[in-house]
């Protein structure tokens, strides 16, 4: 650092740092502290306001984390390499089922792991396959298996681009669902699924976990945490590592090769970047992230079924990418937060409105206009969660809101939330001048 000009960069290392300025370093630090406070704010410490940092948001927020990991992978394939894929749900599924096969406790023993072993009918249950291995084995392998499957299908995927690739990868999702139906030993019942291994860290298969994640209590003998808080911090740590990997990838040779293929594939080849090889690399890395995300998501949920890995899940990632901003890590995070928390926010808002139905005043009137509590009432949102047809329930409104948001962002802000942030930042950087 040179005296008098603290912001002067004196090495290329400083110039290509993840957080190059002191302001960014500080902001990242503050954000971390904010997250920790938010999670710790369970009312136990009186000085942390519970209205902001309450437990209400912890569960939805934890659920965002595995999605953010998978979204990073989607961003590497679609945002960075420019290959539009709708098969992300399939690779999440591969990761999730690798996890449950390696880490789950099956009632069928090892014998159940050989498909069609006792020659019974396809849909009869032979018992579930599970090896009960610890997380440090099943989590990395979930990513590796997904990546291997990615490499396996890549010969078909690297030869097509754009819309054609999207269609090829849609096919993967349906093939995956079909395989899941054929192999109940692995996938469990098609509708109700099976139980996933818990997020506990064991050294081997011992009874008491080395680091437990599913009971309230003192953690590592240091700090008292609830079950939810432990799981949040565990998943958050994995997310941070995966973010760092993604960022490093984008700022080095391989990341540039991927971007070059996105921007001009012919020119990239003439510059010595083998197009098909790097498309395969992008596909594999993206699948690895999807596998890790899928495994963590299923484990956090405890029980998922094959139908959860349907096309709608893939489309959710398209929404994340378009709303957050393609090609950037920060945009991916913003997009995931927005898309995954939106249903929760809409649900909360509806609950709040229905609580104010008869309160009169502006809020009461608004609630009356928006909500339908029974027949003869004409609001677009039904207060009943299982309402069929019109008026629709909150849960049915969510896909509609995604769709509308994708269209709005595509038309008005193609760079997504990240683009909006850049605009705001540049405005204040130049203020009071316009540029």
């Amino acid at each position: 650092m040179s005296f008098g000009r603290p912001h002067l960069r004196t090495s290329y290392e400083q110039d290509s740092a993840i957080f190059p300025t002191y302001f960014q370093k500080g902001a990242a630090g503050l954000f971390l502290i904010f997250i920790v406070l938010m999670v710790l704010g369970n009312g136990a410490a009186g000085w942390i306001p519970t209205w902001l940092f309450g437990q209400t948001w912890l569960n939805p927020l934890t659920l965002v984390l595995p999605f953010a990991i998978a979204a990073l992978g989607f961003n590497i394939l679609t945002g960075v390499t420019g290959q539009v894929s709708l098969g992300h749900a399939f690779f999440m599924g591969v990761g999730a089922y690798s996890a449950v096969t390696l880490g789950g406790k099956g009632d069928g023993g090892v014998k159940a792991c050989v498909p069609f072993a006792d020659n019974i009918g396809l849909l009869d249950k032979a018992g579930e396959c599970g090896l009960g291995l610890p997380i440090w084995i099943w989590l990395p392998l979930a990513g590796v298996f997904a990546a291997l499957v990615g490499i396996l299908v890549s010969p078909a995927a690297v030869k097509v681009r754009g819309l054609y690739l999207a269609i090829v990868t849609v096919g993967l999702v349906f093939i995956g669902l079909h395989i899941a139906r054929m192999l109940p030993e692995y996938a469990g019942d098609y509708e109700s699924g099976r139980k996933w291994p818990k997020l506990d860290i064991r050294i081997w298969k011992e009874e008491v976990p080395f680091i437990d994640m599913n009971e309230d209590g003192k953690w590592l003998g240091l700090i008292y945490l609830t079950e939810e808080q432990k799981q949040f911090f565990f998943l958050f740590a994995i997310l941070l590592v995966m973010m760092a990997f993604a960022k490093n990838l984008v700022r080095t040779r391989t990341g540039r090769a991927l971007q070059a293929i996105r921007d001009r594939d012919v020119a990239a080849e003439v510059m010595g970047v083998p197009e098909q090889h790097y498309k395969r690399v992008g596909f594999a890395i993206s699948s690895f992230y999807a596998g890790i995300g899928g495994a963590l998501w299923a484990s956090y949920q405890g029980r998922v079924s094959p139908v959860d890995f349907s096309l709608l899940l893939s489309v959710e990632f398209v929404a994340i990418l378009l709303i957050g901003g393609a090609g950037t890590i920060a945009g991916t995070m913003m997009g995931t937060l927005f898309v995954e928390l939106l249903p929760k926010a809409v649900e909360k808002l509806t609950n709040w409105l229905s609580g104010n139905l008869d309160s009169g005043g502006v809020i009461g009137d608004l609630a009356n206009i928006m909500l339908t509590s029974g027949p003869g009432d004409f609001g677009p949102v039904s207060t009943s969660p299982t309402a069929p047809g019109w008026p629709m329930s909150v849960f049915l409104w969510n896909p509609v809101i995604y769709g509308v948001l994708i269209v709005i962002f595509l038309i008005f802000e193609p760079h997504g939330l990240f683009g909006i942030w850049v605009k705001i930042r540049n405005y204040w950087k130049g203020w009071p001048f316009s540029y």
């Binding site: 090495s11 290392e13 110039d15 760092a244 490093n248 070059a260 921007d263």
Partner: protein, 269 residues
Amino acid sequence: MSSNETGTSKIIEVEDITLRFGGVTAINGVGFHVTEGELFAVIGPNGAGKTSIFNSISQVYRPQEGDIRWKGKSIMGERPDAIARLGIARTFQNIALFGQMTVIDNILTGRHIRMKNNWLTGMAWFGPAKKEEMENRERVEDIIDFLEINEWRKHPVALLPYGIQKRVELGRALAMDPELLLLDEPVAGMNLEETEDMARFILDIREELGISMILVEHDMGLVMDIADRILVVDFGRPIGTGLPKEIQSNDDVIAAYLGQDFSEEISID
């Protein structure tokens, strides 16, 4: 202006290549060679097949007949990226930069074939990958200095003025440390000042780095000033090769540029 003191060893030989697209013959029996350190120019009217010759050398197109030899070894049928690794770099007529990447990243992509870090070491960042990135960044900064584009280095290239984009593209090709540089209309659409700048860069590259070049260009003033030898093509056929002076007085070349029937038409009138 240009010296004729070029090496005698042939760096690339193009032997009677013919390239057809269905019924259209884009290149019809074109042959030439370039010696070490030579600045060879290819000229001809629009659609004559000049850019197709470049695409054949970098194997984006595969000529059906003939042979292309790099230092005596045939390169027919190789992948374009393998051609790049041999040491053949090129620029494009309609700029083909990586639009969303910054100037630095574009030129660093040119360093791709000279770097080794892969996705695994890249993800880890610390260690050999970081060292290599920093070393190559230094190389890129040298090129940025040389081409005088310092102020643009962190801008996404799609937002830059046309003349600057052309320079970035030259920089990206230079970053490959090539032995042969294919320049496809480096001054097309430029004003006089920009053209003079670019001519200066081309001559500097030649004198300081000793890189052989093949130049496709419509600006006759530039070509006649800086080229050592010139090949003229018309409708895919070669109609003359020689020193700039010989080309200027070649009847076939004059006919190709001014029209075959030019003199007859005047006599009819």
